[in-house]
Symmetry: C2
DNA sequence: CGAGGGTTTGAAGTGCATCAAATAGTGTGG
DNA sequence: CCACACTATTTGATGCACTTCAAACCCTCG
């Protein structure tokens, strides 16, 4: 389902992506000319791990799940990304082979760009290489955090931590949160079963006094959750989520 | 305990480090001149997370544990590195603040180099930036694998997988493995308790017929372990460990 | 030889997974 | 706009994996 792919419009959007910050205009023009923008429905598989791909992707809207799975169907969610995030670009270091599968988990607008352009340009454009390096470093750090959380935090604490990272942590007073995607998916993202998620969320409610209504969660203040979740984390609150973007 | 720090000798060693491959000679000369090589004893803390550091490190021999810990002492091992690995360099993207603590876990010879040199040079030397980018990408991929393993594999399987990644996976026939460091540390590296490690290793023995003698492990062939451990992994054997180096 | 850390073993508890089934919620076609 | 089909979520019952606490054992090194 190809959408209008106006190069200049795409170019404008690309400029908002961290890895393209301050990149040469000629490169942005070139890559935009080769860009496609498509609208994908929930469930669409963009690629499967160990595929050879020719294009990488940038999310303009919606959510995409990155994952791997074993022969007998066990699945590990590597990441869940939203707009401004880039995926598949890592393949330029692996002979165009992607190390994870990507599935659209809510209707999404996604730009695709040729890997070849990127692969070539990082050798010429030091700014681009530095941007990618910085983004990659940031991302590696996020993974470290993820491993730490799964090691130290229990299920209710991980949920609390996840909720805190959805919001601006400097605000005072009451906060309302909307879960960004299905509870089942949040569960997978946090490395637990849906049933465990449901029970753990109830436990978090009992421990912290938050109010839960479907995908909406209200809290009087962040204090309770911070006390409950951040105790089992090596970072100090406010910890900010480390986003790939920014 | 400062050791002889012969710049030209250090320079030769630096050339074997992946991020310095094909870097400008003048840069290598400069950074070598500012290098120090020290011998550290087991237990030495190189830095603590959230410290501001001025130097990054390269391991010449021995092992270094990267970790974070919470106020009440819970610890998460981020990585355990040996020679040719670089640590602390990530701080150049975070205002010289390191995101993890580093502890020498076996007597080690470690080179330290000024962060400032590196920070400045990646802007001039595209090759250096690309090397770091590639290494960082590789590393991020390793973390993804780590998360996957902790999600999908149980304790005995994780140990089997760990053992396989210690060796050349293409060899046939009997293999003897020496654990590279304390069992307690292997346990922490794999995200489990020492007691669990001990029991899980016994279970792995019962399931695969390997022979265990202290830190030495013998196996008739890899097949048994592969069948047992790799079933719970999305990668195909041989999977190769993804090293920071190489 | 003795001290101390690393390792193993035992017993008991806890947290999460699993299996099963009920319930709520959502989108579809009539 | 309603009824049905299908999916997401919750709840219950049970089992297993890993942790925790405690104690014994073993190995190494001064």
């Amino acid at each position: 389902m190809t959408h209008k792919s106006n190069p200049s419009e795409i170019k404008t959007y690309l400029k908002t992506i961290s890895i393209f910050k301050d990149c040469s205009d000629s490169f942005l023009a070139k890559i935009s000319a080769n860009a496609q923008c498509q609208i994908h429905k929930k469930g669409k598989i963009l690629f499967v791990h160990d595929d050879t791909i020719e294009r990488f992707y940038i999310i303009k809207s919606g959510w995409v799940k990155l994952f791997r799975e074993t022969l007998d169907g066990a699945q590990a969610v590597v990441d869940i990304l939203d707009n401004h995030h880039v995926l598949g670009e890592i393949a330029i270091f692996e002979n165009n082979i992607v190390p994870y599968s990507a599935e659209v988990v809510s209707n999404a607008e996604i730009i695709s760009l040729p890997l070849a352009n990127l692969k070539k340009e990082i050798k010429n454009d030091n700014q681009l290489a530095l941007n990618m390096l910085k983004s990659m470093a940031h991302d590696r750090r996020r993974k470290d955090k993820e491993i730490e959380h799964r090691t130290i935090q229990n299920a209710p604490q991980r949920i609390g931590c996840f909720l805190l990272r959805l919001i601006d942590q400097n605000q005072k007073g009451p906060v309302t949160i909307h879960l960004p995607y299905d509870k089942t998916l949040v569960a997978a993202r946090l490395g637990m079963q849906p049933e465990t998620f449901s029970r753990a969320l109830s436990k978090l409610r009992d421990e912290t006094g938050i109010r839960i209504n479907g995908a909406t969660i209200e809290m009087e203040s962040l204090d309770q959750i911070v006390r409950y979740s951040c105790a089992a984390c090596s970072s100090n609150f406010p910890c900010q989520d480390l986003k790939t973007t920014s």
